[in-house]
Amino acid sequence: MQRYILGKKNQITVFSGVLIGIAFVSKLILNNLEIFTWSLVLASILGAAPIAIQAYQAMRVKVVSIDVLVTIAVLGAFLIRNFEESAIVTFLFLFGAYLELRTLNKTRSAIKELTEMAPESALKLIENGEFEEVEVDEVDVGDILLVKTGAKVPVDGRVISGEGHINEASITGESLPVTKTRDSGVYAGTILENGTIQIVADRVGEDTTFGKIIELVEEAQDSKSEAERFIDRFSKYYTPGVLVIAFIVWLFSKNIELAITILVLGCPGALVIGVPVSNVAGIGNGAKHGILLKGSEVIGDFSRLDTMVFDKTGTLTIGNPKVGEVEIYTDNEEEVLAYLASVERESDHPLGKAVIEHIGDTKYYDVEKTEVVKGGGIIAEVDGHRLAVGNMALMEEEDVKIGEKSYEDIKSLEEKGNSLVLTAVDGELKVLMGIKDQIRPGVKEDLQRLKRLGVKNLVVLSGDNQGTVDLVAKELGLTEAHGHMLPEDKSQYIKDLQAKGQIVAFVGDGVNDSPSLALAEIGIAMGSGTDVAIETSDVVLMNSDFSRLPHALGLTKATARNMRQNIVIAVGVVIILLLSVLFSDWMNMSIGMLVHEGSILAVILNGMRLLSYRLRY
């Protein structure tokens, strides 16, 4: 019976609305007070039934819920034969609840879309050699699965046969399909656009990258800030408190009308719901744009950010140094470059790789008597010549002759922020190369956006020499640049900023900067290993896409603002209602309920605006 009535809540709402309509038509047009009264009595009883059941269920577990307040208020109105009030209040309460459900679903839709992308079934190889469709929960590590065109990859695994193109947008945010052949890694939640593959499961369920992303978002949408926990504790005592106050008012004034009006006005609603609604909509917007925000605490901190600290290599720069400029001081260019390539081939120094990449196809010579000079370069014998490859310090040590023009070139390349590789053959400088790490395209514009969004300081910290770091800072318009920084220097730097009361975000590669990432209020890992990035970051950028940073910051600011607006709406409405019940004569139960439901809808609709938030400039 209880269940039946609760299940028919929508029909009851409509019916009681119609009855109220009939009542007023008969009173105002037909002048028939009898129909008026009986319609309202019926509407009150109908409408009160589901509310009273909910109240009863709450009381049984010793909770004074809103339903309890409303039920008592309606009973009171009924007792003093104010059927107009009792009917309208129950109707508004039910109708309001219906609208809340609809609008709340909307604010939660963005996250729901994400979680619904989770694979549900898999084709698993069974004993007789055939593939059988099973639920994804039944797949274990080591199972062999078949993925057909158009299907979702059910788990993280490796391709063991077949070929195809996979759209990995759900993991990386990159919508260009990726070719997968034997031994390629595949990820749960990605879609096989063409081809057929068989895979072996490496990680299943919540352990998959997609599973982790979903878990993160689901936890984030319900994570609570200190303020929210306070509101929760407060509301536990607030509702019973309202009941007590109304009772005291009735005891002293003997005015039932006033007492039940207080019951309705005191209903909390907008206050409890306002902040979670902003939170879920903001996090949902982020998820749609490849930004995972780990909860409302992160939103609060990130929105009040003072300083953003960046690691240089791999964050602001691509992390893949390239030879930018070359000066040759010999007619025998081809042969000298071949010597150089032969020497560098034996080194795994990043600059060496850049040199080899630059020289390209060449003839290789045998290299003998190789000697690595720490902090200098390499000395070796090639084709009967003595080669010295390295920096200026090495050249000086080797007493290499450097001409007037070469000195000029060296100075100019250094000023442009190059790392230098000099090559001397038999004590004479033959080749000068300037190597630079390319700045990521678009980073400059993104940094300017961050500045416009109110980040006061943009700082770069790097292990590179100060000259190079200064140059990057100048080119990108950063406020501060510090070179020669070891990981522990970086975290000390962040500690110092925090000691000055600043809120700091650190953007790094997530591997060797983990102390700084952990220390900063907001850690953002740019590592290409999505797992590391997900675990260590407070804000996860899908595909380590730097360009999402400004949107992330703008979004957290908008979300934090939205939460504040909702708190103001909620508290403001309660204050206005209470003041008007004390100081005005137009306030009654129905208007109180209307305003109460209206304020709940107002905070939900306000939160919903966040779903369509876009960075404007």
């Binding site: 709450a58 049984r60 809340e100 709340l104 679903n105 939660r108 996250i111 689901e218 949408q221 979670p276």
Partner: protein, 77 residues
């Protein structure tokens, strides 16, 4: 101790959470501190002692206060 994750019907009203928490709290064998009713994901997470209570008992208690249980999963801790 085991952890139950119970997916509920969509939660909309703020006092739902108090009601569900109240319903589960009073059961024997429940780790009261672990009760977490998530509003937006409409989900309850709770640790319980499998010798004293089963996940079905928890579901029944939630059902009794008027909320439908959609799906539940139990994980060893």
């Amino acid at each position: 101790m085991k952890q139950a994750t119970i997916q509920l019907e969509t939660l909309t009203c703020p006092s739902c959470m108090l009601k569900i928490e109240g319903a589960v709290k009073s059961l024997d064998g429940i780790d009261v501190d672990s009760i977490n009713v998530a509003f937006n994901s409409s989900r309850l997470k709770v640790n319980f002692d499998e010798d004293k209570i089963s996940v079905e008992d928890i579901e029944a208690a939630i059902d009794k206060v008027g909320y439908e249980v959609k799906k539940s999963r139990v994980k060893a801790l």
